[in-house]
């Protein structure tokens, strides 16, 4: 018998109030049967099991691999313990495949393919460490390292070392842009290149509110903050990518300061930023003062005290004071995202006044 609930041959439901013919009449008052609530389950009902995904067989670096259909090449690589670099990829966001550092070679494909978003196919022959792959990864890292300040992006610095990227061979960094200048670049309007220097996105940090700073000198344009602000998490759409080409940048409408924008200060953009371009003001200030010391920090797992949702919080504490707040990516409640209260509303904890007399 079919269990899809649509089949026509299942037992017809009895009409209300009509006992089944097989039931001895008068065994139990009918009202009891109809009104008695079902037994309370001892635990929440489990979701229906997901249909089992067919397995797909492919080859990765010469090894035959079996993985559920619909997986990405990145997932297949990770299942094999192959460490594939990623910058714009995050488990809780839709892959945008723009950083191109995860590219792999697929036999039969004219160009390299992004592992983070390309689905596995039966018979695929994937190479993750060929000359072409290593070259493209190295060049992408050189391009980023020579144009963006990666000093607070340890993973990117690690990749640069791993792939032997020489970020200095494009010449010394060009002079930083004055505040706001990159925001005014119009699409298609050419700026003659400097002769002896490599252009960068360096510019003054934007500090326009008490909660977080935007240092676009460190922005690799991974689109994660835009996704977290918009469709993938917060649904606020306070920021988007503006401009074009090398002048493309993350921007509020007409590049207005954050307090004038639609920003609700959930800080989910900070949570997903891979380079420290978006940073708690507390962290930014401590770094500026030279007091930021990650090795001296502890992490305390707790639950947000504000509303009834029960978001998981990781409190990062240094010198007995909360310095930043994050939420674990694998939390089933938050998926790593918080709201303004959970992320920034921790001052009351350390409001150490004189206390009761």
């Amino acid at each position: 018998m079919s269990h899809d609930g649509l089949s026509m041959d299942r037992d017809p439901a009895p009409a209300p109030g009509v006992p089944r013919a097989s039931e001895p009449p008068g065994a139990q008052p009918l009202t009891d049967i109809l009104l008695r609530p079902p037994a309370r389950p001892s635990r929440p009902p489990a979701p229906p099991p997901e249909p089992e995904r067919a397995a797909v067989e492919l080859t990765i670096d010469g090894v035959t691999v079996t993985i559920p259909a619909g997986s990405t090449i990145l997932e297949a690589c990770r299942a094999q313990g192959i460490d594939t670099p990623t910058l714009c990829y995050l488990e809780n966001l839709t892959p945008v495949n723009v950083c191109r550092v995860c590219v792999v070679e697929v036999t039969g494909s004219r160009v390299l393919v992004p592992a983070c978003s390309r689905k596995v196919e039966a018979g695929m022959d994937v190479k993750t460490n060929s000359d072409r792959v290593r070259h493209s990864r190295k060049m992408v890292l050189e391009f980023l390292g020579s144009s963006v300040d990666l000093s607070t992006a340890p993973s990117a610095l690690g990749y640069i070392e791993r792939y032997g990227a020489d970020t200095a061979r494009y010449g010394p960094a060009d002079a930083p842009s004055p505040a706001g200048e990159r925001d005014r670049h119009e699409a298609g309007h050419h700026h003659a290149p400097p002769i002896d220097a490599a252009q960068t996105v360096e510019q003054p940090v934007k500090v326009d509110n008490d909660l977080y700073v935007r240092d676009y000198s460190k922005c690799i344009l991974c689109y994660k903050c835009v996704e977290a602000c918009g469709e993938d998490a917060q649904n606020t759409f306070a920021i988007a990518v503006a401009g074009r080409g090398f002048d493309a940048r993350i921007s509020t409408e007409s590049a207005v300061p954050l307090p004038d924008s639609a920003c609700v200060y959930c800080g989910n953009c900070i949570g997903v930023c891979p380079t420290g371009a978006l940073m708690f003001k507390s962290e930014h200030d401590m770094r500026a003062a030279g007091t930021w010391d990650e090795s001296a920090q502890t992490t305390t797992q707790t639950i947000c005290p504000y509303c009834g949702v029960g978001c998981a919080l990781d409190l990062h504490v240094q010198d007995n004071a909360i310095v930043t707040v994050t939420s674990p990516l694998d939390s089933s409640v938050t998926d790593g995202h918080l709201c303004i209260k959970g992320r920034f509303g921790f001052q009351f904890v350390q409001n150490r006044g004189p206390g009761p007399a």
Binding site: G188, A240, G245, F246
Partner: protein, 612 residues
């Protein structure tokens, strides 16, 4: 979504521009008068409110052409009307070169300084303008006018060329060429009516017997449906209806027709794939956004034979099962746009299109939107950022639905193929097995009679150049750029290569979009390479790292070489150039990045071409 709109209110003129397109706002929530008694707390939301996102670019055009630039209040008003977050709308407006998000004078001369125009002296025009008018972009005449440098305007047969946009209640856009600096200044005077000035005939072969694609261009009255029908128009559509979609697809497949936009994908296979998709609706898009420097064939077809484009679209719609079609035309083609609008309207009014609705969408200055998935994004009202493939458009295309997208020239070929019972055989009799049919070439640069030429596939490069009057001034040929900025430079040794997909591929070249640009012995190749590098830097959408930064590094490298200030040994720089090219080719999302180093690298492979 929190539609958070701030700042001052849009001016009456800005609101009028938007309302002229969208109609008056029906409620205060959309920007009209607030009336607490009738509206209370009722807000519009959900899918209905957001379903008009695809009108964002037409609305931005309306503001731009009324005011001359798009202010924050105007953008906010557009956002309210269309339920688009202002940050996203700003991202879209700032993506397109024809939209200004900072104040810009209402009258702007866009002066082309791209490859073909540079060969015709555009550099001098720009230098003269800098002296007589001022630096590009600087407002003059009391803030009423300015001039800007422009990438290729698709007017290469009348180089050096210009386009004027005049904002106002009766906005005017027209093109002119050839022009000098005095001519540019003269055309900055305000005009009341828009008309594109006539130039040299774009079709030197006009009226020659045996032409198939150009047979009616410059012969038929492009504004007259009757004239088009008198010359055989709409017979192919009638036959297509008679034989049915299946047979149309079979004939197009059997003909061996492949796409003429550059990728050379079999047209019949594309149509069959879309027709077979279970998802509904199916869309049809005609890609008329030819922006490859040196390409102007689709403009000539649309200006000269617009009804043929409409008829071919109707045949394709029948074949793939689409009732909604879009014609996406580049924003720099005012005459082609007007004629296509006229032809679409006249065909519809005459009942020739059945249930097919054809909508024209105007691009806004972005080469990248010629890439098919970037074009979809643009129609959907977004930044023209290409999508990763797969999935391919035949499965997931415009609005996420199966979409057949074809170039204008490709479609025109269909008319002869399905126009008669022996159309397939006649088509296959032309050209070669792998490159069947006639082909249009855009011949420009240092050549006697620049223009669009129709020849059979297999014609040699030498024959084509001779047909176009040879190298102008009796000079010697130095190089030919085949396929445009994304193409390949070949030297005189390639003159006898037959112009087919397979033969050009065999010598490491490409036909691309049919560009054949002639550089004579005096041509400044360094300037040409620098211009190509600049073009890709300016036109990269900026989405993926290899192209966004690679095009910048490539341009810097060329600037160093041109200035004689190589960073270390010259050979090291050439190695670096190849390394940059390899990464862009291998790791970029779309064809722009993948071909951004093609022409430049090809020039450096031929030491006699560039002395750098």
């Amino acid at each position: 979504m929190d539609l958070h709109v701030i700042g001052p209110l849009a001016s009456p003129a800005e609101r009028a521009a938007v309302d002229a397109l969208l109609g008056p706002p029906e409620s205060g929530w959309r920007g009209g008068q607030r009336d607490a008694r009738t509206e209370g707390h009722v807000a519009r939301g959900g899918h209905e409110a957001r379903s008009r996102r695809d009108l964002l670019i037409p609305v931005l055009h309306a503001i731009q052409s009324r005011i001359g630039w798009i202010s924050q209040p105007a953008l906010n008003y557009a956002c309210r009307r269309l339920t688009v977050p202002p940050a996203e709308a700003y991202g879209v407006a700032s993506f397109y070169a024809l939209f200004a998000t900072t104040p810009r004078p209402p009258i702007v001369a866009h002066v082309c300084d791209d490859l073909a125009c540079a060969l015709a002296g555009a550099g001098d025009v720009a230098a003269d303008l800098e002296r007589s008018v001022g630096p590009a972009g600087e407002p003059v005449d009391g803030g009423e006018t300015t001039w800007l440098r422009s990438p290729c305007l698709g007017l290469c047969e009348r180089a050096p060329a210009m386009m004027v946009t005049q904002a106002g209640t009766n906005p005017v856009t027209f093109v002119a060429g050839p022009v000098d600096a005095v001519g540019v200044e003269r055309r900055l005077e305000p005009r009341t009516g828009g008309s594109t000035e006539s130039g040299p005939p774009p079709i030197p072969q006009r009226g020659q017997p045996g032409l198939r694609l150009l047979a009616r261009v410059d012969v038929v009255d492009p504004s007259s449906l009757d004239d088009y029908r008198a010359q055989g128009g709409f017979r192919a559509l009638a036959r297509a209806r008679r034989i049915g979609p299946q047979q149309v697809i079979e004939e197009v497949t059997a003909s061996g027709l492949v796409g003429r936009g550059g990728a050379a994908f079999p047209t019949g296979r594309k149509w069959a794939a879309v027709a077979a998709q279970p998802a509904e609706p199916h869309y049809l898009v005609c890609n008329a956004d030819e922006s490859e420097p040196g390409t102007f064939k689709d403009r000539v077809l649309m200006e000269g034979d617009p009804f043929a484009v409409v008829e071919a679209m109707a045949i394709e719609a029948l074949a793939v099962g689409a009732t909604k079609a879009y014609l996406y035309i580049r924003g720099e083609y005012p005459l082609a746009e007007a004629r296509m609008l006229g032809a679409i309207a006249a065909s519809g009014e005459a009942g020739l299109l059945g249930d097919l609705d054809i909508e024209l969408r105007r691009g806004a200055g972005a080469y990248i939107c010629g890439e098919e998935t970037a074009l979809f994004e643009s129609i959907e009202g977004k930044r023209g950022e290409p999508r990763n493939k797969p999935p391919f458009p035949v499965e997931v295309g415009l609005f996420g639905k199966p979409t057949a997208i074809n170039n204008v020239e490709t479609l025109i070929n269909v008319l002869d193929i399905v126009g008669s019972d022996d159309g397939v055989a006649a088509f296959k009799a032309i050209g070669t097995e792998a490159s069947a049919g006639p082909k249009l070439f855009c011949v420009s640069g240092n050549v006697g009679r620049p223009g669009v030429y129709e020849v059979d596939f297999g014609t040699t490069l030498r024959e084509l150049i001779d047909l176009a009057g040879g190298v102008s001034g009796g000079l010697t040929l130095k190089a030919v750029l085949l396929g445009g900025a994304a193409g390949v430079f070949v030297g005189p040794d390639a003159l006898d290569v037959p112009l087919t997909f397979e033969a050009t591929r065999a010598i490491g070249a490409t036909l691309g979009s049919g560009v054949v640009m002639i550089f004579d012995e005096t041509a400044d190749m360094v300037a040409a390479l620098t211009r190509i590098a600049r073009f890709f830097r300016d036109e990269s959408c900026g989405q993926c790292v290899p192209c966004r930064v690679g095009t910048v590094r490539q341009e810097e490298l060329l600037a160093r070489l041109a200035a004689g200030r190589a960073n270390g040994a010259r050979d090291d720089e050439l190695v670096l150039l190849r390394e940059i090219g390899q990464a862009m080719r291998d790791a970029s999302i779309c064809g722009l990045g993948q071909t951004a180093s093609s022409a430049i690298e090809s020039a450096f492979r031929q030491p006699q071409l560039v002395a750098l």
